[in-house]
């Protein structure tokens, strides 16, 4: 028989035996162990446990003790043994506790840790002795294994003891407090071991209630006070830096001294006390808050504030503040009566701001994503876009201004752009353009300005012109630009037509009294000028025009040709009796008419000129002004009475031809700068736009209803608004008026079943 440690006996097969190998429990042949015998064996064990706790185990015989335990369990006295062990450990801890509590504060924690170490060693040894019980009794009886039991008893009777835990708490907090104020060298290892002990015993029952909770509450109080002190004594950026430093410290502390699970909790406390509670104060603090940062444009500080608020996931109030700041500037800037005088200045101002906020977005309001890409903060981006949209649409004249801005860049002049610069300018313009709600108004003005550039050959670069239109096209589709492209087409065809005309003239041996260059323009593409029906053209011009008409109608029968007197230019030669050298003057068609009129006359009143040339009031005045102005290089061609100012010009003002005209150059160009429209003209244009919108709405309604045959009012209105998005925003009232008009004209009728449903009438 061989006794194995495992407690099983093994019947070894005798070489001669035929039996198989059988495993069976070993039964003491001496018979059963009674209560008394078991007690006796337990006494030995109990004694041994005391020795172990007194670190006096070397004298013990492991084998003997193990067998005792084994016997007790084998004879079913396990309960007695287990309770005995439990009681003995508890009794020991109770004694030890008093010893620990008697320690001075300075050595209390160390001593506690030492006791813990000893306890662990002791319990380990006890477990070894009672291994048989751990394996055979504990699982069946549903009890804790011996080691766990020992740890639990340590927790219950040592750590959870109110006196002990109170002391742990107060001592730990003192250490941390000192550490925070930087007074003593940090006792990190001590705290770490303490934490380790407590979490080993039980994180949920020991570490959290005894240590963590107290630590968090204490921190809350601490940071409450600290925030108050910091805030009143420092600027916002300083404050935030301090907060960030504190956060780092706390994180570091948790890593080195406490349990990992505490990290998030303490961060949360610090953020709440120092950021959440002071959120609005930080944003609004005078002289260093968000507003002050914006005023001084301190991007780094704004970034700091943004990151700080991002920590509590609440950047909205800051973004709102910035938006308000931007609007405050913008809503005033675009309607300021001084600014409005100069459209270029307004657009430049807006572009600059957009640029500035783009930069701010990149440098202060961007988030680094996982793939290391920085993306703009969506809240900020949206708010700024909204603000700019509001600003851009605040002034109804802005579409015109924007077109003038493009005109100023595309027009031949001193400050001509280099090829690669166009693209940059266009991209910027498009940003503003995207914000525009009334894109159709822009289109209208753009058409006007483009027409003047093309017809006056003022365009600085054909490629640039086309590239801008291409950009509009990619963004807003073919419909938006088809007419503009048609204009370019006309220009090209006209050049060919003129070639053919010259050949035609010479082939027939005819001669035009004066050279003319004609652009044949498709009516629907070009802005409709309010050209007077019958203008008294000078004879030479009239004959030349007739000749061209003869040629053109000859090759394009069925077309109708009307002359636009408002868009052309003329080269005139001026011969003065007093001067031997003739001057060449380049004027527009209307000015030509005026000057030719003075061929036969020395002077004429405003009313007479108007009657002769069929040019009316404001137009005539505008054409006359460059003629009567004293210019840098030449004297005025016509003279107005000395004492009449421009504003005072009326029907009776007399204009006289200037006989003493002098000029430093031979060629004089009386260019007409494209100016912004005056208020009356702007109003007229608006009326025209409104008319066109009515027409577009009518067409859209009819098209839609034709396809659907019948539709609910509500849906119709929604679809129309959606359809015109980007071009303009029709109000439901506008749409209703159009529907009513269509009902009246019998395109639609109200459904008999429901008055809010319309039927299409074929």
């Amino acid at each position: 028989w061989i006794l194995f440690e495992s407690g099983f006996c093994c019947l070894m097969a005798h070489p001669n035996a035929t039996q198989k190998l059988v495993l069976q429990p070993y039964v003491d042949k001496k018979g059963s162990l009674d209560q008394a015998g078991a007690k006796e064996k337990w006494k030995t064990l109990e004694n041994a446990i005391h020795h172990i706790f007194q670190q006096n185990a070397s004298s013990l015989s492991f084998q003997h003790l193990y067998t005792s335990g084994y016997h007790i369990i084998l004879h079913r006295h396990g309960d007695m043994l287990y309770t005995g062990v439990e009681d003995t450990i508890r009794g020991h801890i109770d004694k030890e506790r008093d010893k620990v509590l008697n320690q001075a504060d300075a050595s209390f924690l160390e001593s506690l840790l030492q006791h813990w170490e000893k306890h662990r060693t002791a319990v380990n040894m006890i477990r070894d002795i009672l291994m048989y019980m751990d394996k055979n009794f504990v699982p069946n009886a549903g009890k804790l294994p011996i080691y766990d039991l020992g740890v639990k008893i340590f927790g219950e009777h040592m750590l959870k003891n109110p006196k002990v835990s109170g002391k742990i708490r107060s001592l730990t907090l003192t250490i941390i407090k000192a550490e925070r104020s930087g007074e003593t060298a940090p006792q990190r290892l001590l705290l770490k071991n303490l934490t380790k002990m407590m979490t080993e015993v039980s994180k949920r029952e020991v570490y959290e209630p005894i240590l963590e909770e107290a630590f968090l509450d204490d921190s809350t109080d601490f940071y409450k006070v600290e925030a108050q002190n910091f805030f009143s004594s420092s600027t916002v950026p300083e404050y935030i830096r301090k907060v960030l430093k504190r956060l780092d410290e706390e994180r570091d502390r948790v890593e080195r001294s406490l349990d990992e699970g505490t990290k998030e909790k303490i961060e949360d406390r610090v953020k709440t006390e120092m950021i959440k509670e002071y959120k609005m104060n930080l944003i609004e603090k005078e002289s260093s808050g968000c507003l002050a940062m914006l005023q001084d444009w301190r991007v780094d500080d704004l970034r700091l504030l943004y990151e700080c608020l991002k920590l509590i996931n609440d950047v909205d109030p800051m973004v709102t503040q910035i938006k308000r700041h931007l609007l405050q500037w913008g809503l005033k800037f675009v309607v300021d009566s001084d600014n409005v005088k100069d459209p270029i200045l307004i657009i430049d101002g807006i572009l600059e701001k957009i640029e500035q906020y783009k930069d701010l977005e990149k440098r202060a309001f961007s988030i680094k994503e996982a793939n290391n890409k920085t993306v703009p903060d969506p809240t900020f981006q949206k708010a700024i876009q909204k603000a700019f949209e509001e600003i851009v649409n605040k002034n109804q004249r802005l579409p015109e201004f924007l077109s003038l801005y493009v005109d100023s860049k595309l027009r031949k002049g001193k400050s001509q752009l280099r090829d690669e610069e166009y693209d940059i300018v266009f991209e910027k313009v498009l940003v503003v353009f995207r914000y525009l709600r009334e894109k159709d108004v822009f289109e209208k003005y753009y058409k006007n300005h483009l027409a003047k550039r093309l017809l006056g050959a003022k365009s600085s670069s054909d490629d640039a012109e086309r590239s801008f239109i291409q950009k509009l096209k990619t963004e807003y589709g073919y419909n938006f630009t088809s007419k503009l492209e048609g204009m370019f087409q006309d220009m090209k065809v006209s050049a060919d037509t003129m070639e053919n005309y010259k050949q035609w003239v010479s082939a027939r041996g005819k001669k035009s009294p004066c050279d003319i260059s004609v652009h044949v323009l498709t009516t629907t593409y070009w802005p409709g000028g309010k050209s007077p029906e019958s203008v008294q053209l000078p004879e030479e011009v009239r004959l030349s025009a007739e000749l061209f008409k003869q040629f053109y109608i000859g090759s394009h029968s069925g077309r109708k040709l009307t002359w636009q007197y408002t868009m052309g230019t003329a080269d005139l030669r001026l011969r003065l009796p007093a001067s031997t050298r003739p001057y060449d003057i380049i004027v527009n068609t209307q000015q030509m008419l005026i000057l030719m009129f003075f061929n036969d006359k020395q002077s004429a009143t405003f009313a007479e000129i108007s009657a002769q040339t069929s040019i009316v009031g404001p137009d005539l005045k505008r054409s006359l002004l460059p003629l009567v102005h004293q210019q840098k290089l030449h004297s005025p061609i016509l003279k107005k009475p000395q004492n009449t100012t421009i504003k005072e010009i009326d029907d009776h003002t007399v204009f006289t031809f200037n006989e003493e005209f002098k000029s430093k150059c031979m060629k004089i160009k009386l260019s007409q700068v494209i100016q912004k429209e005056n208020d009356d003209e702007a109003k007229q244009t608006r009326q025209k736009v409104d008319e066109e919108r009515k027409w577009q709405l009518d067409a859209a309604i009819v098209r839609l209803m034709k396809a659907r045959k019948t539709e609910e009012h509500r849906i119709l209105v929604l679809e129309l608004i959606k359809m015109f998005q980007g071009r303009f925003t029709p109000s439901p009232d506008d749409i209703k008026k159009r529907i009513e008009s269509l009902i009246e004209r019998e395109y639609l009728e109200r459904s008999k079943e429901s008055r809010s449903r319309y039927n299409y009438l074929a």
């Binding site: 509500r714 439901p732 009246e744």
Partner: protein
């Protein structure tokens, strides 16, 4: 498979049953519709059947159609045209015209059949005769109209016309009458009615229908941009009058009302 076949045969039986039921039902519902129609319009059986058939047995549509096209559905017994012409001759003023009743002659005729010419009922008489021009009844309209109505004596006219007041209490009949008024009051195919005429018509016809009539008229008179009344506005006003209650509380902003009515609501609420 068996189950499927069972299902199929059962569903076939069901279809047949529903078909049978529907023919039974429809003849039953047709009879109901005819009696309902007669209750509303007091038309004859034959006309009720004819109108209902034309409108696909939709009672609502049939009633509207009947009122809007009264002249197409003559009375069972036509009036004697000669007798009616004699009545016309009696009232006409030879010095003015032998083909039309207007002015004093018309006044006398209306008084003669106990209709107060000053009251809106007189308009209803013109509606019954399907007159086309305001303030006059032509001989043709007079003779054909009364003949269709089956009235060929002054006495018969009196009793029938006395019933006319009831149209103000019959919403469907009134709607047809009201919508007819627009055409009646506009000259030669014009698409709008002069504001002054519209106002006077509203004054005469809407008092019992439109609780806010006074406010409406005040608004219309104040509104200088409104010079003409479109057919749509005219028709929708009656719907509006019936829909919104005494204090506009039931007005729906998105209810596709003509803009003038929206403006009225705004004006009324401001007031």
């Amino acid at each position: 498979k068996n189950l499927n076949r069972d299902n199929r045969s059962r569903s076939r039986t069901e279809t047949r049953l529903t078909e049978e039921r529907s023919t039974v039902m429809s003849s039953y519902s047709q009879r109901r519709a005819i009696s309902d129609f007669k209750n509303i319009t007091s038309a004859s059986d034959a006309i009720a059947r004819k109108v209902l058939q034309a409108s696909g047995w939709n009672l609502e549509r049939a009633v509207d159609d009947y009122y809007a096209n009264r002249h197409k559905y003559p009375a069972a017994k036509l009036g004697d045209k000669k007798k009616i012409a004699k009545i016309f001759d009696k009232y006409m003023d030879e010095e003015e015209s032998t083909d039309e009743l207007f002015g004093e002659a018309l006044f006398n005729f209306l008084s003669g059949i106990d209709v107060d010419p000053e009251e809106s009922v007189s308009l209803a008489v013109c509606w019954k005769l399907n007159c086309t021009e305001m303030g006059r009844i032509t001989r043709d309209e007079f003779v054909n109209g009364f003949s269709m109505l089956g009235l060929d004596s002054v006495k018969a006219m009196k009793t029938e016309m006395a019933k006319l007041k009831s149209i103000f209490n019959n919403p469907r009949e009134f709607k047809a009458f009201y919508q007819w008024l627009f055409t009646y009051c506009t000259e030669d195919k014009r698409k709008t009615m002069d504001k002054e005429i519209a106002v006077s018509m509203w004054e005469q016809t809407l008092p019992s229908v439109f609780p806010l009539l006074k406010d409406w008229l005040e608004f219309v008179n104040e509104n200088e941009q409104l010079k003409f009344v479109s057919k749509d506005l005219w028709n929708q006003l009656l719907e509006f009058a019936r829909d919104v209650g005494d204090d506009i509380s039931k007005y729906d902003e998105d209810g596709a009302w003509p803009v003038v009515i929206d403006d009225f609501v705004e004006w009324y609420n401001d007031k």
